[in-house]
């Protein structure tokens, strides 16, 4: 599996969480297929995507879980974020409610997720400046206080979308020990702690 010389192959699970209609699927589709639709089918349960990003230092193979946003789907979320190496919590800058929901996701991930989880906060729909309800500084400040990486994005205009995933990839590359190749960054959560190995060799 990892035959590239001098280059790491990293397989990483990435999960997107956030209120319904914040643009989680749109962000992923922009990144994976370069597409954008004004009306994206609502996601039920979750949708799965893969994408490979090559950096100088490593090749990152993303397994992306894009989850459903409606509050009642919350009870399914652990299945999707369990073992994730990175999470993107998304809110919509035109909705204060979605920002509040994002904070709840962050709290939950801090408590339940992998302690080494790389967490990003994406303030999406940045193209809708005239409808903005959540200030840039609000998002920034919250991210800073909670140790998240913050980016304002727009799946529609592609603003910061590739940057978001590249930034995640870089951090994953940095976090993974260099001597190992073909490492799986699917860390186990403590609650399922039956297995101690996380390396597939």
């Amino acid at each position: 599996m990892a035959r590239t010389t001098g280059n790491k192959n990293i397989q990483a699970k990435l999960v997107l969480l956030g209120d319904m209609g914040t643009g989680k699927t749109s962000l992923v589709l922009r990144f994976v297929k370069g597409q954008f639709f004004d009306y994206q089918e609502s996601t039920i349960g979750a949708a799965f995507f893969t994408q490979v990003l090559s950096l100088n230092e490593a090749t990152i193979k993303f397994d992306i879980w894009d989850t459903a946003g409606q509050e009642r789907y919350h009870s399914l979320a652990p299945m999707y974020y369990r073992g994730a190496a990175a999470a993107v919590v998304v809110y919509d800058i035109t909705s204060m409610e979605s920002f509040e929901r994002a904070k709840k996701w962050v709290q939950e991930l801090q408590r339940q997720g992998n302690p080494n989880l790389i967490m990003f906060l994406a303030a999406n729909k940045a193209d809708l400046e005239e409808k903005r309800k959540v200030g840039v500084e609000d998002g920034e400040q919250y991210a800073k206080e909670n140790g998240l990486v913050f980016l304002e994005t727009s799946a529609k205009t592609a603003q910061n979308v590739n940057e978001l995933f590249y930034e995640i990839a870089k951090r994953l590359a940095k976090a993974s020990p260099s001597r190992q190749t073909g490492m799986k960054l699917h860390s186990r959560s403590q609650e399922s702690g039956r297995r101690l190995f996380c390396c597939s060799g």
Binding site: M20, G21, F37, Y39, Q40, E41, S42, I44, G45, A46, F48, T50, D63, W65, A68, G69, Q70, R72, Y73, H74, S75, L76, P78, M79, Y80, G83, Q107, E108, R111, Q112, H186
Partner: protein, 395 residues
């Protein structure tokens, strides 16, 4: 009449207007992907083989129609609506052999498919929707939609958000009329059952019901009977507990019916709920081609929610070898997605679902649900408490 009548005519027009699709020799050679509209107005992308399969399916639908007409001719119109037939439970009580024979014929016939033109009438009757409607005042649906007009609730806001996101691009659903009709059905239901309110997923189910049923009122009653009688309860309520129960039952059934696959998936740490949740909540409407979905629903409305297990298990059974040789979660998902999206031949699926999976009685499945319920409740409860303690810490 409602605005839906014109839409219904439109749906029938699809069938008559669409000529047999003839892929050109060039398309055949290049194995190109072709785009076309199916029987229910959905745009389908498929290769030449898919087009051929769809043409065969169209022919089979016509043949099946002839079988139904012949039976109507010999047994009388509406023979399948006799109470002793449509209520399977009272079978034993029925001493009439002819009634029992009819019931057996009907079950077999339904598994082979209800002709699209007969679907509205047969679904409405056999599902119990007609009975449900008859217990309410005649003006129930009209009164309900009028009473809730202009009201704004969290459910209505979410419904409004999802209307343009429900099968976007569909030739009728994605029009102002389509949005307004779907809205009335979903909003109406959200007020009928405030525990359910609106759950994402119901938008797809209701949309497909609208395409099949003759009037939006009938679609509404179909949605009601589906949620209140056909499916396990609490599938769509606040924490989706019913859905969690179904997922656990499904895992057990997979281990029993497809043990090799179950073992392999466990080794890959692949939880089948990752993919199956959407199947069960949207009743396959987001994963299967429309006619195949409706064929599943034909059986669902007559035989009950166990049909969902049969069909979900069939996907795994059909791809057993491929799945066993997959090494990665992503491969498993791709295999399953490719399979479901290309199941243009409903008989191929239903043959596996019923003949290869073998029989499962509603009774055994109910027992398994009962067994799983406490664990699900405990898990959801524990989770809620953890989240609440999180909030307390916050203060």
């Amino acid at each position: 009449m409602y605005g839906t009548q014109s839409k219904r005519d439109l749906a029938l027009e699809f069938q008559s207007q669409i000529p047999i699709l003839r892929p050109s020799i060039h398309a055949r050679r290049a194995n190109l992907t072709v785009k076309f509209q199916d029987l229910y107005g959905f745009t389908v992308e498929g290769n030449v083989d898919d087009v051929n399969v769809l043409n065969e399916v169209r022919e089979k639908v016509r043949q099946q129609g002839r079988v139904w007409w012949a039976l109507e001719a010999s047994k009388g119109a509406n023979w399948y609506l006799q109470p002793s037939i449509s209520e399977g439970q009272s079978l034993k009580a029925s001493l009439k052999l002819s009634a029992m024979a009819n019931a057996i014929t009907l079950k077999r016939l339904i598994r082979k498919g209800i002709p699209p033109v007969l679907r509205p009438k047969i679904w409405f009757s056999l599902s119990g929707a007609a009975k449900k409607k008859s217990t309410a005042p005649d003006s129930y649906y009209n009164d309900l939609t009028k009473a809730v007009e202009g009201k704004v609730t969290p459910a209505t806001r979410q419904i409004d958000h999802d209307l343009p996101r429900t099968f976007p691009g569909h030739s009728w659903l994605d029009t102002p009329e389509g949005h307004a009709t779907l809205r009335r059905v979903l909003v109406g239901y959200s007020f009928r059952d405030s525990d359910v309110g609106y759950c994402q997923g119901l938008n797809y189910v209701a949309a497909l019901l609208l395409l099949v049923m003759k009037t939006e009122e009938d679609a509404f009653w179909m949605l009601a009977v589906l949620l209140e009688n056909v499916l396990v309860s609490d599938c769509y309520t606040t924490n989706l507990s019913g859905c969690h129960v179904e997922q656990r039952v499904f895992k057990d059934l997979l281990a029993k019916k497809c043990p090799r696959i179950a073992t392999h998936l466990e080794a890959l740490e692949f939880d089948v709920s990752l993919v199956a949740t959407e199947w069960f909540l949207c009743l396959f409407s987001k994963s299967l081609p429309s006619e195949t979905t409706l064929r599943v629903w034909d059986v669902l409305f007559y035989e009950g929610a166990k049909v969902l297990f049969h069909v979900a298990l069939a996907f795994f059974k059909m791809k057993e070898e491929e799945l066993i040789h997959s090494h990665h979660v992503g491969d498993v998902i791709n295999i399953l997605q490719k399979t479901t999206h290309h199941l243009f031949d409903p008989d191929e699926l239903l043959t596996v679902a019923f003949d290869k999976i073998g029989s499962m009685t509603t009774n055994t499945i109910s027992k398994q649900r009962k067994k799983q319920e406490p664990a699900v409740m405990a898990e959801l409860d524990q989770r809620l408490r953890r989240l609440n303690s999180l909030k307390l810490d916050d203060k």
